[in-house]
Symmetry: C3
Subunit: 396 residues, 3 copies
């Protein structure tokens, strides 16, 4: 999922490095870290559910193939491994008997939400010898941007702020969002998101682009800017003639061209968010977050690994305003953007992510966006979640 | 499934042996016979369907992973391997052309119900050379208690009376019952049945216990009495205080306590069935039969292995009366017990059997009931039905 | 599927060779070519869909385990491997941008329908370096009898006329037909079709036979006549007495016997199609085509392999007439034959093909039809489509 609007803008910062040649290889063995990351990368914070959807009653979520129980106690939200060590019954079926605990539905084994310790066994009395001698794994949890974030990793987590775009933490904003489970591996979703090539053709039929022309084809580079990899358009072509076939363009008489808003043309690029210093129209970063900077708002999407064949697709549309302008945006989101963009437009992406079947693959010039993303990962060397294809679960 | 009512009664007979310590092991390798018994044990009689539900038309059932065709001829019921040896079409699709035979739907291969011999091949004429030279396996069948029982085993079966509780054979009674296929391996169902710990917590919300308090926790032993393993309550506690958490109890103002009916308290324990000399409130025996002796009736449940992930759950509620009292019980069963106990109450057990996931497991004190059951099996050394995990079927 | 009507006729030509003894083996290792042909045989033309159902919009079909995209351009129909080599998206999701091409829905990779060459990449401009350097496999396609035929094979295909019965190419006719996907391997469908034994018993209850008696049992030979293997009835028995069981027959008071139409009885056998010199009532040929010659029309059925567990069942009923007689037949087909014969009658076959489970198998005398068919294949040595049981797909 991306959109080509105003892609000819140069990045706000000069790119640190650029690459132009996609690899000719057909499989993923040249990207071993990426190739191993069927279930994503450990040691990151992932957004999982809306804060407002978590109450006292335990709920089950799956993250990087790990089954996790989530429940609220007052303002705080807790996450525990969703398996009672006694007989393997999911704690998400459990009940809440005492504050700060969850009790397994089967025998009343009662775990402390904070520590995971077995603090009481209701069917074995107060002197139950097993009490205090067992615990279930707990997961660090944070609440930011209205979302519940869970850290899947080893040791103490880093501050969650490192995994959230700075502009979202430092500025007033309003937002609307949508969380869906979608078919397909998270890597296909991420590649589709940063993919330079597809939008011009696939989204040609999207209602979101009904009145705005998209380019026909571009010449593109990718560049690293801080944690982000960005796409830079060196050339933008609005139509092309294919000898022996005909002309192809997204232009239609009823569609308007993007404004001549490139830097140097004497017009503000991005009146609202320019001050935020957002480099690039489309950018991606680890562990799988895409940012698309429209003139008046920014779209974010997280590709949160669920299992080998499912991705949790967390979409947010953000406007950096407050007060009446903010309220108006909220209304615009709920009445239009949610259905046109977070709905029909990205459903076209979901369709492709579902039917895609690679490797093997044959890459073409615009796929330098995809190979750039894979290369970024190989350089950063995040830790793949171990995966056992036979069971479809994380390997112990 | 069990119920805690009146559990403080001592067994009618002194236990032959008792054990108090569950094993600390996390897997089942220390119980090799049990561990191998995914599809149950051979050389037993199993109840399968109601007599009244079997007519002339062949029906298919699965038992210990074996596919079996069942059909009636007059008063007699027959069971044959449900596969025509010709081309593998199930005989349960067949038709009844001649008395005492079943004909495969495909080519009219006609098998004698009693012997399994191929006695005619309708599409090859009376002199068909294959006639009399083939047979399909037959299974011993008996009818008792309104049920069709099938023996899966090797050689001549022992008398079925050995596999039916004596009190059911020797006394007048009325009964109501229910047969369901339920998700989960038969061993989880059996363990859940004899499990000392779960009822107090899981069935806390059962309508069946709406007006009767259950204990909060017990100290329990198990003991062998003849073929049965029984649970013996050494201590019964009706509430408990968990430091730092609070008090937990099944008591509610509207629930009444069980009567002070323990032996020596000058009150009949079990006015109706005491004469039957039923030891223990809850008892279990091979190949997987649970008995729960309420003051006025006895509940039986058989865990009949179907396949690795399905159990045939045969429930019976029996009152040892006849005449008007019997009729009244029948009415009580159909109007209430069937829905409250054989329905909603044991559906809670079915839920747990379905979501349970062990080994690994961590056992606690009340699980001496489960380890006692496993130990009983290791001592008895019944023959596990061979199982091929790859095909999910019995190994040839 | 077959029907016993008038089976006592001798073949029009003397059989080239005959066999009478089915093999006693229980598995298929003695027929190695057949045993390997889970996905059918390469190097044949197969009927796949009706011409009239293929338009501009690409459609997906599976043939011998291969996924194929089919689309029309004017009068011509094309078939390409249904996988864009870029990222594996099926071309059958694609769009038609330029005449004679199909464009992948994802990035607009545009392939020439005739050659399969990548002739344009809409999202990479006219100078895209990958253009002209890739192609997708194309399949030879022909249109005959209102059907689209696809050749799955190696090298140049032989003329399609070799795979279509000559009488259909050389004579005026009208026809009605039905194409279904049915459960079961194509070999079970083919064996069922040519099977001498089953119709007398299985189709006993078919409405199609409601008013016509079928034999009770026959003595049969098979014989090769050109590419066909035919069944020859040496004896036809209309009822039989099974000692100790009773009499069995398809005769009923309301059913009429077939006319005494055997050769030499002074009556035309097959007034309409006799001139066509059709040998045998039922005949079969490679790669899996059955022909049943009724007095006034011929039924054909093709068993087209889809995958290991699915067969495309192509049925045609043909009358060799034109003008008013032809029109009348068309009406008779649509109002009756389609529902009685191509519907309920062959649905009984589909049922058996679905539940059949062989090998192992035990064959009987009438199965010389099946072993004759297998032997024909071993002699002809067609090339099995390589099959990988692990993936369920053709092995590369």
């Amino acid at each position: 999922m991306t959109d080509q609007h105003a892609e000819r803008r140069a990045p706000a910062k000069p790119p640190a490095r650029s690459t132009t040649r996609p690899s000719p290889g057909e499989d993923w063995t040249q990207w071993p870290t990426y190739n191993a990351a069927t279930l994503g990368f450990r040691n990151y914070w992932y957004p999982v559910v809306w804060e407002r959807d978590i109450g006292d009653k335990p709920q089950a979520v799956t993250l990087l193939g790990e089954k996790i129980m989530v429940a609220r106690e007052g303002d705080k939200i807790y996450a525990l491994k969703d398996r009672c060590p006694h007989r393997g019954v999911p704690l998400s079926h459990g009940r809440r008997e005492f504050p700060g605990t969850v009790s397994c539905a089967y025998h009343g084994w009662t775990f402390d939400l904070e520590s995971g310790n077995l603090s009481a066994v209701l069917t074995d009395g107060p002197e139950s010898p097993i009490c205090g001698r067992l615990s279930v794994k707990t997961y660090p949890v944070e609440q930011r941007l209205g979302l519940v974030w869970i850290y899947v990793g080893d040791g103490e987590p880093h501050p969650i702020e490192q995994d959230i775009p700075a502009e979202l933490l430092d500025n007033d904003h309003v937002m609307g969002g949508k969380i869906d489970l979608r078919a397909g591996n998270w890597r296909f979703a991420a590649e589709n998101g940063f993919d330079e090539g597809h939008a011009k053709y696939l989204h040609n039929t999207a209602l979101w682009r009904l009145f705005k022309v998209m380019p026909a084809w571009n010449k593109t580079r990718v560049a690293e800017v801080g944690p982000w990899l960005i796409r830079v358009q060196d050339e933008v072509h609005w139509e092309a003639d294919y000898p022996g076939l005909g002309t192809w363009s997204n232009k239609r008489w009823w569609k308007r061209m993007p404004l001549p808003d490139a830097p140097g043309k004497g017009k503000s690029v991005n009146p609202v968010i320019a001050g935020l210093d957002i480099p690039g129209f489309v950018s991606i970063r680890l562990p799988g977050l895409l940012r698309v900077a429209y003139p008046h708002f920014i779209h974010y999407e997280w590709y949160v690994p669920v299992d080998a064949d499912t991705v949790r697709y967390v979409q947010m549309m953000v406007r950096f305003e407050s007060g009446a302008k903010g309220l108006l945006f909220k209304f615009k989101y709920l009445s239009a953007i949610r259905w046109l963009f977070h709905g029909q437009f990205t459903a076209q992406d979901a369709w492709m992510v579902d039917v895609m079947d690679a490797p093997p693959e044959k890459l073409y010039r615009p796929d330098l966006s995809i190979t750039g993303w894979r290369r970024l990962i190989e350089k950063a060397r995040p830790k793949p979640q171990p995966y056992d294809p036979a069971s479809g679960s994380p390997r112990a």
